[in-house]
Each structure stands twice: as structure tokens, then as C-alpha cells.
């Protein structure tokens, strides 16, 4: 029973990492509604932004780096592209965390804009200069927009998850 509890706790703590790896290995496809795929968003970016901002001890930079490498392999683009993009996002997020005195959801949501912009900029620069892959810029813009739009939903879900699972431990942070 004791071991089961330890495994359960480990699993719950590691869930963000598991999700990050899972969605790097598996790119889910949600059917399009009409001409626009409203559900095309980058879950990994939301996850990285939230956890680096709020619970950096639960999501290491090393894992972000490896997840990026896996993502590159699955997508078939130059190795390290997504890693650098994710790490750029982490850098901006880390800066926002250090620069912010009082955290509020709205301010963090709007701080997600420059983070996304910087991350995608790095991604596009590498894609354009280091590979021959053609890209659908409109789709990337759409994806980025919905990533930004869905952030509050996941913010709420992740916050609730952290509250429920690590209530005692994380009370101080909320």
C-alpha cells in the first residue's frame, strides 16, 4: 500500500512531463469544423508556459529539450528546431516569472503573447534558414492564435489539478 502511494504520488507529480512527452510522440488530429480547424492549438506550449511560470520544479528544462527533439523527429524537421523554440518560450516565461511581483491570470495570459511570438519567431527563422521545409504560415498563425485563446481554459484546469493533488504542498503558491 505504501509503495502504491509512492508510485501514485510520483505519477501525479510527473503527469505534466508525461503529457509533454505523450503529445510530442503523438500529434492528435481533431476534425476540422468548416474551413477553420478551431481546435488546432499547441498544447505543449501552453503546458510549458504554465509550468515554467507557476511550477518550474515540476517541469525541467531538460525534459522540454528532449520533448522538442522528439517532436522534431516525428515532424521530420531539423533536429533541435522545436527544442530551441520551446527553450525560447521557457526563457521568456522565466523572465516574466522573475519580473512579475504579483501574479494574475490576465497579466500572465497577455504575457503569453510575446512568449508565443518569440518562440514562433525562433522556429520560423530556423525553418527558413536551416531546412527546406515549406510552411503554411496561415495555419501557424491560426494555431498560435488558438493556443493563446485556449490558455485560460488550461490555466484553470492545471491550477485546479495542482490545487487538488498537491493541496497541502502548494497552498502557499495560490
Amino acid at each position: 500500500m505504501y509503495y502504491f502511494k509512492i508510485i501514485k504520488d510520483k505519477f501525479l507529480i510527473s503527469l505534466p512531463i508525461i503529457l509533454l512527452y505523450f503529445f510530442s510522440f503523438y500529434h492528435f488530429q481533431i476534425p476540422e469544423v468548416g474551413k477553420i480547424n478551431f481546435f488546432s492549438f499547441n498544447f505543449q506550449m501552453i503546458l510549458i508556459y504554465f509550468y515554467v511560470l507557476k511550477f518550474p520544479e515540476n517541469l525541467g528544462y531538460g525534459n522540454i529539450f528532449v520533448a522538442g527533439i522528439i517532436n522534431d523527429t516525428v515532424l521530420g524537421i531539423s533536429l533541435g528546431t522545436t527544442s530551441l523554440s520551446y527553450l525560447s518560450l521557457s526563457l521568456v516565461t522565466s523572465y516574466v516569472r522573475n519580473a512579475t511581483l504579483r501574479s494574475r491570470m490576465t497579466s500572465e495570459w497577455f504575457a503569453f503573447i510575446p512568449a508565443l511570438f518569440f518562440s514562433n519567431l525562433v522556429f520560423l527563422i530556423i525553418i527558413n534558414n536551416f531546412s527546406n521545409v515549406s510552411f503554411y504560415y496561415l495555419e501557424l498563425l491560426q494555431n498560435t492564435f488558438f493556443t493563446f485563446l485556449f490558455f485560460p481554459i488550461f490555466y484553470y484546469i492545471f491550477s485546479q489539478y495542482q490545487k487538488i493533488i498537491f493541496k497541502k504542498k502548494d497552498n502557499a503558491q495560490f
Binding site: 518550474p56 531538460g62 523527429t73 533536429l79 530551441l84 522573475n98
Partner: protein
């Protein structure tokens, strides 16, 4: 102004270099590592290919495993949809069977009535020809010969095949048996120069003799009336005038070629025939 800039630099430096409580690597180190990997991948150094190959194999296999839930979900959805489709189809087929049963009885009645009327007119089909022999044969040799357009089939006199029997490929007349052996026979194709077949053209009473020119897309009709012009998209049937082959078997069709010239092509494709049907569909004298 300078204070703001200093604050920014300090925050960036802190973000880049501070590892944090449980961080094993600093952001700076990982960013440098990423840039190095991108550079190595870009210049395609020799040791990068095996590394990438191993990584690809590993990641693809794990990706396959990771996508299993989605595949299972799709399979379940497909099976449910199929189940409902089968149910729907079953209902439709039951209705169709009922309808066909009714039609069958109706047809049987019409057939017997037709037979009675034919007997009354002394024009029974059974009196003129019979086609009670049919055997499936395999084309064993289809050699391109400049002399004779023919094929060899794997059935001969041992199987009841006789000279003059008609050979069909996919319900279309392809040729006639000209040579029989014990276990094989030779079929003269309608495309052969030596082939002659009395025909009648669709929607007309024009008779002629269909002969081959060595090509299935270009046949020839001899003995057509003077000043008669062929029309495109007309089916050519056997006329049975030779008293040998049953009338009314579709043989060829007329068509307009790219140069707007009306040509005749065979309905059967002898080059593609692998299995043929040999029948005695000739008039019984």
C-alpha cells in the same frame, strides 16, 4: 533608464543561468546544445546519419504505440458505423429479395406464355440452335506473331472441344477454335487477317463481313453497300448468315478516333484474356 536596462539584463541573466531547485541543466546550456544540434544536422556530418536513423526508429516505434488509443477509437467507430450500415443493408436486401421473388414468379409466367406463343408460330429457338456446352479454359500461350493472331488454350478434345466452337472473353466474342489437340486448342482471334465473320450493324439491316487487320482497335468490314457511311458508337453483332455462329452476339463497336475517323474496335480484349469461355454457340444444322 539605465536602471531599467540593468534590471532587464539581470532578469535575463537570471533566467538563462539559474538552474532552479530541481533543474539539472541551465537554459543557457540547453539553448547552446540545441543550436549545436541544429548546426550539426544542417551540415549533415557523417556521424549524424546513424544517430538520426536510430533516433527515428525509436521515436517512430513509440509514436506508433502512442497512437494506438486513437486507432482503437477509430476502429470502434468504424465497427459501430459498419454494424449500422449492415443492419440497414440487411433490411434493404430483405425487401429486395421479396421484390425479386415476386418478379421471378411473374417472369416464369411470361416465359411460359412466350414459349406457348412461339410454338404457335413454329419459331422455337430450341429448334434452330443450341448452346448447351460451355467450358472455361485458360490461355496458356499468347505469342505475338506477325503471321497469325491466335492464342492457345489449355483445353482440347479430351474436354469436349471441337473445331469451330466460339470463344468468349468477358461475355464478348473473341474468336473461334481452329485447331484442336488432345489437351489444348488454338483459337483464331477476330483480329487476325484470316478471320471472317458475318455481321449486322446496330439499328440497321446492313450486313457485312468483319475481318481483322491485326489490331484490336482497327477492324475492317467488307461488302458494305455502296455509299454507306459508318456511324460512331454503333454495336456490331453477329448476323448468323453463315449458318455457323448464333446471330445477335455483340462483337465490336464503331468509334471516333483522335483524327475524327470512324474505326471499328473489338469489344473483347484478346491481349488481356487470361481465362476464356468456350461454347458451342453455333447454329445446329
Amino acid at each position: 533608464m539605465a536602471d531599467h536596462r540593468d534590471d532587464f539584463i539581470i532578469a535575463i541573466r537570471y533566467a538563462l543561468l539559474k538552474k532552479g531547485a530541481k533543474q539539472k541543466f541551465s537554459l543557457f546550456f540547453l539553448i547552446v546544445l540545441s543550436i549545436s544540434i541544429i548546426t550539426l544536422d544542417k551540415f549533415e556530418l557523417s556521424f549524424m546519419s546513424p544517430v538520426r536513423a536510430v533516433l527515428n526508429d525509436f521515436v517512430y516505434r513509440v509514436s506508433v504505440v502512442a497512437s494506438q488509443p486513437e486507432k482503437i477509437k477509430k476502429n470502434v467507430e468504424k465497427k459501430i458505423t459498419n454494424h449500422y450500415n449492415v443492419m440497414k443493408e440487411n433490411k434493404f436486401l430483405i425487401d429486395e429479395i421479396e421484390y425479386l421473388k415476386r418478379q421471378k414468379f411473374n417472369n416464369a409466367y411470361l416465359s411460359s406464355e412466350n414459349q406457348l406463343l412461339k410454338t404457335a408460330l413454329e419459331f422455337s429457338e430450341n429448334k434452330n440452335f443450341e448452346q448447351n456446352f460451355s467450358i472455361v479454359a485458360k490461355v496458356i500461350l499468347d505469342q505475338e506473331s506477325p503471321y497469325l493472331k491466335s492464342v492457345l488454350i489449355n483445353k482440347g478434345t479430351n474436354h469436349g472441344i471441337e473445331k469451330g466452337m466460339t470463344v468468349f472473353s468477358k461475355d464478348y466474342l473473341m474468336g473461334t477454335v481452329i485447331e484442336t489437340n488432345y489437351l489444348s486448342s488454338r483459337v483464331l482471334l477476330l483480329t487476325d487477317l484470316n478471320s471472317r465473320l458475318p455481321i449486322v450493324i446496330e439499328d440497321s439491316t446492313i450486313n457485312g463481313i468483319l475481318g481483322g487487320l491485326g489490331n484490336k482497335s482497327n477492324l475492317n468490314i467488307a461488302y458494305l453497300p455502296d455509299n454507306y457511311e459508318l456511324e460512331a458508337n454503333k454495336i456490331i453483332f453477329t448476323s448468323g448468315k453463315d449458318g455457323f455462329i448464333v446471330p445477335g452476339i455483340p462483337v465490336a463497336e464503331t468509334y471516333l478516333n483522335k483524327k475524327n475517323k470512324i474505326l471499328i474496335r473489338l469489344l473483347a480484349d484478346p491481349n488481356q484474356a487470361l481465362v476464356v469461355n468456350v461454347t458451342n454457340g453455333q447454329i445446329n444444322n
